[in-house]
Amino acid sequence: MIRGARLLKAAVFLASLGPAAWLLWAALTGHLSANPLSDVTNETGIWTLRFLCITLSVTPLRRLTGWNAAIRFRRMIGLFAFFYGTLHLLTYVILDRFAGLDFPNGIVAWRTVRDLAVSVGKDVYQRPFITVGFTAFMSMVPLAATSTAGMVRRLGGRNWQLLHRLVYVSATAGVLHYWWQVKADVQRPVAYGIVVALLLVFRVVWARGYFRAAAPKGERVAASNPDRQRWGPGAVEAVKNVEPRKP
């Protein structure tokens, strides 16, 4: 059983590397378009968004199917979102910003480092779609940094969970970044918007207890346990004792 789970994890890891491997192969063998630099930027961006969506669907999947083992893949998939996000940021910095510099003192010069920093900073400040994209990336950084078991312990489960809600910001900003970037055809950003919205709405709906009757037995017990209620048992009692409002 353990062995099977490990194998599955290794398979998911390799599959997650697939897009990066494909992109590298396509770029080296000329299978990208006539503007391969823009393809690399677009593809790494879209895969960041896809991995964010997969990460966000782990919880709904567990709740709806009761397949709790799915949680074991969440950290890895989340870190892959960060991996593709980092590649995306790097391609932007190198292919878009660095390639547009002047190099008055040659390429290998302190001036280049300074000009690159100014160029990125100005762009992030001036262009709204870059600002939201940068926000999406920056809100993934603390999540990647606190992804180890040690960090979960140090922060405490509750704080850790609270911090990791930043992923909602990242996914929303990611969709917005995509949406503001396209010229006319918004079908794809809209589709990602719908997926992210459904995944977030699920959480709200679940918190209000709508799906619980439909959940598998183990889940239902957990949900009806007053210790797991949002306001704790005391709050539940308090609400019960309040006079019903007059119509």
């Binding site: 299978h31 006539a34 390639a99 709204p128 970037q181 010229k183 719908i194």
Partner: protein
């Protein structure tokens, strides 16, 4: 004394069981449809690109050289025929190369309308009959900040306009692209999803249209123009952003008022009527100061009027080009 009190909820307000079951069905169907549509769109993009350069076409005979040609390094046939913005055939750069393959360009007619003496529907052969074709190697600058060097084959737009005998009321020329949802899958996208309003329309001021750099194009690299590049008959205005160079023209109309071109109609704050290449006026969402020549790593500085200032700057003397973008 009346003891019977009315119930809290009148029976007329109770939702019929059938109805609320229907409502659940409706919500379920609606949610299902949304999810299916999203999956469809996302699934479609996973397909590997199958862009294919255009097959080589018929050689055009008796093509003259032109002093307006640049001597810069040409982009390849493959680059020019697989990297196209032609939204009638999809919004991906590669889509036109795949989806325009069976586009019917023969027979082709062009309607000449409006303020002119020679209003008629002309066959393309008849338009070409008395024109001398020229090679025109032009820089092509897209509003998306990439560029190419392209060897077009065509003839001056001005020569054609003179034959139409425009009247003194003709202040602008309006061009229209063919609109055929059956052959052009990109035109089936509803405007709610960001689709353009079809047919595609562009326009030039009369003096711009008469400038010798403005050409009507029928060929590429000495051969018949491939479909994805706007076959069989397109405009090329090299000092303006690429979208001004309208493709697959079926109508030319002389008008008194400035036409509303398609991209201005789509987003007037981003795209204007003039759309001259101008490194000092940025697109609201990106810089126009530099461009990437397809095939190069480092970006180039964008030139005013795309480097054609000597021929066209006088057209805009005294005009505020920041306002008239």
């Amino acid at each position: 004394m009346l003891i019977k009190r009315p119930p809290d909820i009148r029976s007329s307000e109770i939702t019929d069981k059938k109805l609320y079951l229907n409502r659940r069905d409706f919500v379920r169907t609606a949610a299902g449809t949304v999810v299916a549509a999203a999956t469809g769109v996302l699934g479609a993009e996973v397909f590997l690109r199958a862009a294919e350069p255009a097959a080589h076409g018929r050689k055009l005979a008796n093509v003259k050289k032109s002093p307006f040609s640049t001597t810069e390094k040409l982009n390849t046939w493959e680059e020019i025929t697989t990297y196209n913005n032609y939204y009638e055939f999809g919004t991906d750069k590669e889509s036109p190369s795949m989806l325009s393959r069976n586009f019917k360009t023969e027979p082709w007619t062009v309607a000449v309308e409006g303020e002119c003496n020679k209003k008629a529907v002309y066959h393309l052969e008849d338009i070409l009959k008395d024109q001398v074709l020229e090679d025109r190697i032009y820089r092509h600058r897209c509003v998306e900040a990439w560029s190419m060097v392209i060897p077009w084959v065509g003839f001056p737009l001005g020569d054609f306009i003179k034959k139409c005998e425009p009247t003194s009321n003709a202040k602008f020329v309006e061009f229209t692209t063919k609109y055929d949802p059956v052959q052009m899958p990109g035109t089936r996208l509803p405007p709610a999803f960001g689709g353009l309003h079809w047919p595609y329309v562009e326009g030039l001021r009369m003096d711009e249209a008469m400038n010798p750099l403005a050409i009507l194009v029928v060929g590429l690299y000495g051969e018949v123009l491939p479909n994805q590049d706007g076959a069989p008959f397109r405009l090329v205005v090299p000092w303006k952003y690429g979208f001004k160079s309208i493709k697959s023209i079926v109508k030319i109309r002389f008008v008194e008022k400035q036409p509303l071109n398609t991209w201005q109609d789509q987003a007037a704050n981003e795209y204007g009527f003039y759309s001259n290449v101008n490194p000092d006026v940025n697109h609201p969402r990106w810089s126009q100061a530099t461009e990437r020549r397809i095939g190069e790593f480092f970006k180039r500085k964008t030139l005013m009027f795309n480097g054609y200032g000597a021929q066209v700057a006088s057209l805009y003397a005294g005009m505020d080009l920041k306002k008239n973008y």
